[in-house]
Each structure stands twice: as C-alpha cells, then as structure tokens.
Symmetry: none
Subunit: 192 residues, 4 copies
C-alpha cells in the first residue's frame, strides 16, 4: 500500500526535518542536509530535482504521516463525544511527540515555498477526519458548520496549544490539555 522509500531518500527526509526545525527553513543549506543524512551531494539531486522539490515532497509526506497516525486511532463506533475527545487528545499527543515535524510543517505552510500543487495534494489527506465530522453533523451531535471550517478551528486549536506548550512547558499540563479539548467540544456542540 505504502510506497517503499529508499533508505537514502528517507535519510534525506529525516535530516531535512530535523535541520529545518532547529535551524529554520531560511537557514538550512543543502550541504548541511547531505552531511546530516550521510549522503553525497549528488545523491540528494538524484532523489530530488531541487531544494524546493525536496521541501515540497517532504511536506506532503510529513502531513500525510501525521494524518494517517491521528486517524488510525479513530473509533467511529464509540459514543460520539468519547470519539471526539479521544481524537483530539490523540492528535495533541501525536503532534507533541513530533515537534520537528510540526515545526517543519508550520514553517512551510506559511511560506511561499509550498506550491499550490502541493497544497492541493495535501488537502486529500483530510478525507477521513472529514467523514467523522460529517457523521457528527448528520447525527445532530455537532453544529452544521462547513467541514473545512471545523477542521481549521480544531487543528488550529491543537497547534496553538502545542506552541504555547513549547514556550511554557510547565503551564500546559494534562488538565490544561483537557480544558482545551473541552473548549473545542463546547464550541462545536449545539446549545439549546
């Protein structure tokens, strides 16, 4: 099902993720990437047409890995509220466990380095979580907002909280994380 990624290509991906997270997108030369990945300059250009192409391809890969991981835990048969909280909390901890990936993604997603074509590719990865929210709307569990709006608000909350946790780790304990999930749930559900 999954594409087999050649070991060198994977090493380049890993090195790029780490280095962009620590040095910044603006400050990660190819020379550093090849050194960290332990490959030759030529090998990088064997697998990727250019630095931009590498970044774009890695962006797609990182985004879909995260999507896959978050969604794989999703239990559509549990009570809806329970499923929602488990999704939110799972996603939070998954993101939190991959700080480099998140840093990479955030740096890219705000930069013109990511092409429109790449963005279009990435959209498709939202499919399964979209279904979950559609189901919630259909069953009357949550407000009938546009799926992309829900997605944006939930994802935005999680990412914001992780950034806060990065700056103030002592503040964001399990209780706060739960409060943030509740914030989203309360924002989503129909009040009568």
């Amino acid at each position: 099902m999954k594409k087999e990624i050649p070991p060198k290509k994977q090493a380049i991906f890993d090195a790029t993720l780490t280095l962009v997270a620590s040095h910044g997108l603006h400050n990660t030369p190819m020379s550093l990437i090849k050194k960290e990945a332990g490959v030759s300059a030529g090998a990088v250009y064997h697998y990727f047409e250019s630095k931009e192409a590498l970044i774009n391809e890695l962006y797609v890969t990182a985004k879909s890995e995260i999507s896959d991981a978050v969604i794989s835990e999703l239990d559509l048969d549990a009570p809806y509220e329970e499923s929602f909280f488990s999704l939110w909390i799972n996603a939070y901890y998954y993101f939190a466990s991959k700080p480099d990936a998140l840093s990479f993604i955030e740096q890219c997603s705000n930069s013109p380095i990511i092409t429109e074509q790449t963005k279009a590719q990435v959209v498709t990865t939202y499919q399964k979580s979209a279904e979950f929210f559609e189901q919630g709307i259909a069953q009357g569990n949550i407000k009938p907002l546009h799926i992309d709006v829900i997605h944006t608000l939930i994802y935005g909350s999680i990412v914001s909280l992780i950034k806060l946790a990065k700056d103030q780790p002592e503040l964001v304990n399990d209780e706060v994380i739960e409060q943030a999930a509740i914030f989203c749930w309360d924002g989503l559900i129909q009040l009568n």
Copy 2:
C-alpha cells in the same frame, strides 16, 4: 509616546514585510530589500546591525501594531458578550486587512530566527487583552482558564480562519466568520 520612525527605516520595514510575504523568509535577500525600499545598502546597515536584527525588530513592531489596533477598539464597559464578539470580529478583520504582516509574523514565529529576547518583548503586548479576559473570569462570564490558554485558543482560531480564507476565499463569508466567533464564545462560556 510613539517613537518617530525615520522615513528610510520605515521604507525598509515596509519593503521587508512585503517581500517576506511574497518571496518567503528563506528567499528574501538584503539586496532585494534595499532595492524595494529604494535605499542604499549602506543605509540598511545604518539602521540595522544585521539582517537578523532587522527581522527581529520588524517582528516586534508588526506584532505591537496589530495588538494596539485590536485593543484600541475594545470597550470594557459594554455588555461582556457584546465586547467579546466585537473584539473577535475586529481582530479578524484587522488581521485580514494586513495579509503581509500576518504572513511575515507567522513565518517568523515558527522560525529560530526570532530570538528568545524578542519573544519576551512581544509577550508584554498582550497586557490589555489579558485584562479583558481576567475581568470576564472574575465576573463569571467565562470559564476560569489560564489567561495564556484563552489567548492562545482565541488567537489560534482567528489566525487559522484567516489562513483558510486565504486558500478558499469564497468559503469564508461573513456568516462563517460569525460562526467561528460563536465557536470561540461557546467554548469559553460556562455551561450549566
């Protein structure tokens, strides 16, 4: 109260904001900045010690301009709910009216180019909105969450929605904007 910014310095700020938004932080050389600003290379280094210093200083300036603008509209004497919505909507439209500034800020805030010292400076700009939320908690209007958590969730929602609007402008109409504000309000208030 405010420092007078010399015209050339302002031109450099403006040029940098525009260029980082359109070319990316990773792809905006000083040579382009000086050209766009219409100043000499020497002038840039007269006003700023280095490129990093320029970016950091502009980051502080842009952040506080936004903060000032959003808060200046805040009416602490109106009914709380009304004030909240007016704050949220005002903030949304202000951000939306400054896409370059927002793009610049988002690119910087996820990059190691912004120093810890700069981040510390920026924190102080939250003061007045913090007071607004503290007042809401004290009066029992909203849940007693940590101020920084509230701030993060609200700011995160607004920024997320603006990014969505950038990608899908036709989707994010006034109704959607209001729905997002309601999402935040419902998430904040105490349910009984």
Copy 3:
C-alpha cells in the same frame, strides 16, 4: 573496408552531433548525451574512454564522412572547369544538408579540445581533393598555389557561405551559390 560501428556507438555519435549543434560544445553534458542516445552511462564509457575521447573520435568520423561524400562524386575525366564547379557545388549542398555535422566540426576545430594527434589524422582525408588540384596545376588550368592554400581558400569560402545561409536563408539562393563558385574559379585561374 569500413569498420562496422556498433549501434549503440552510432547512437552516441548521433546524439552528440545533434546536441553539440543545438546546445553548444560548452553546454552538452554526458548525461544529456546518454539520455538522447538512449543508452546507459556505463555504455558511453564502454565505447569511449572519456568525453574528450568521444569528441575527438566523432570529429575524425564526421570529417572523413564529409570528405568521402564530397570526393566520391568527383569525375577526374570531365573537363577541368566542369569538374571544379561540380565539386564546389556538390560540396556546398552536402555541407548544407548536414548542418549539425558542420556546426559540430566548426565548434571543435576552433577549440583546444581537439588534440594535435586528431588534427594530424584528419589531414590525411584531403588526399584525393589534393590530387585534383595538383592535376589542375600540372595541366595549367589553375594558378600554381600551394595545395593547402588552395584547399583552405576553397573550403573557407564554402563554409563561410553556408554560415551566411544559416543567418540569411532567403539571401543565399541558387544564383548566389553559383556566384560564389565563380568567385573561387575566377580567383584560381590564370589571367593573362
């Protein structure tokens, strides 16, 4: 008599000729040659020791192919003037029909990439046309110039005219071609 050229070697020759003509000697990497020839990198180095060796060998081949073609039409028994014109015109049209070969040869012959050894090899191909001019001198048809001088002036005129035809195709019609041949004939013959 002729060596059989293996198909892959021929494909490499053809690709090199085409590419050097269109991209320039300075801008024709081996990677492009192998792609255009449809062979592997290893195959190129099986047939040729190096890029320089490939260019030099192709130069010899191209030069002698042209020489052979031009001379094969030469009729030593016809009236001398008639033979001369038929030689000149034949040569012109043959060169004109192989623009890539001519472009390749001209680029090489002015570049230090062609070794002295290669140049020495190529000289031998002039043998038969040399005999034709020697005969003309012996019979008193043309001036007693050194064979190499005659050769140079005639060949130079033909090549110059072809270059002109490349830049201004509409100018160089059959009449002009004949005028150029007459120019050479009039320059060669003894005036009394």
Copy 4:
C-alpha cells in the same frame, strides 16, 4: 565617443579572451576568469549578469574593435585596386596580431552561446566596409554581388588563411598572403 570601460570590467574582458583562446569556451570556468583578472567573484557578477552575458558582451566588443581597426586604415580616395589590397592585407595582419581575439570570436560565432540579439548588434559594425564594396560595384571595379556575400567571401578567406598559418606557420609567408589577396581580387573583378 567611446564608452569608458571600468578597469575591472576591462580586466575581466582581457582575462576571458585569453583564457577562452587557450582553454576553450567549454573549459573556461568563472573561477579561472576571476583569478586571471585579479578580481573577486562578486565583481564579475557586478559587471555581468551571468557567464553567458559576459561572453556575449565580450563578443560584441571584440568584433567591433576589430572592425574599427581594419576600417580606420581604409583610404577611399586611393585607386580602387590599391585600396582593396591594402584593406585585405591590413585586415590579415590585424587579425594575425590578435590571435586570442580571433580564436574567441570563432569559437563563439559557431556556438549557440551567442544569442540572436547579439548577432543583430554585431551586423551593424560592417557598415563602413559595406560602403567600400558598394562604391566598387557602382564604379564597375568589381562584380555586382550582394554586399553580404562579398563580405562573407573576403572575411572567410582571411580567417581561413590565418587558421592555416596557425597550423603551418612556415608555409604562410608574405608571398602566400599576397597570393591569397590576389585570389580574392581576381574572384571579385569583372572578366571580359
């Protein structure tokens, strides 16, 4: 009248001419040029947008210098035949005295590195010698060929002879040079 060429730009021109003549257009890296010229890498790119731009600009400069030099000696009031021989011989010795320039020009003019725009610029330098040949035709001294054809045949003969002289210096003595000039004159004049 003439543009003042800044000393560094002139040094880059000189170095490029020398190096392309000795190493070949395909084998003259910028690093060698900057070293030979005694300037920094940045300086080269301050004066020229790219290597191609440098080559093209130098081509125009070299061509027009040669044109100017050859034509400056031209005496339109002398008897026509005498003027012609003096032009031819002058041109020959001028070219012969600038072997690097000639080698550079020949390598470029057969290579796609020279753009159509550059070729168009260069054509304008032929103006004055064109007038000389037009005058000869009008006065009935030479055959009524197209000016560009005459130009091509004469220039081609001179260049061919210089190439021969390069390969066989002992062969091309003053007598041979005169013979070649006579070849051209005899080819040009009307026979009755």
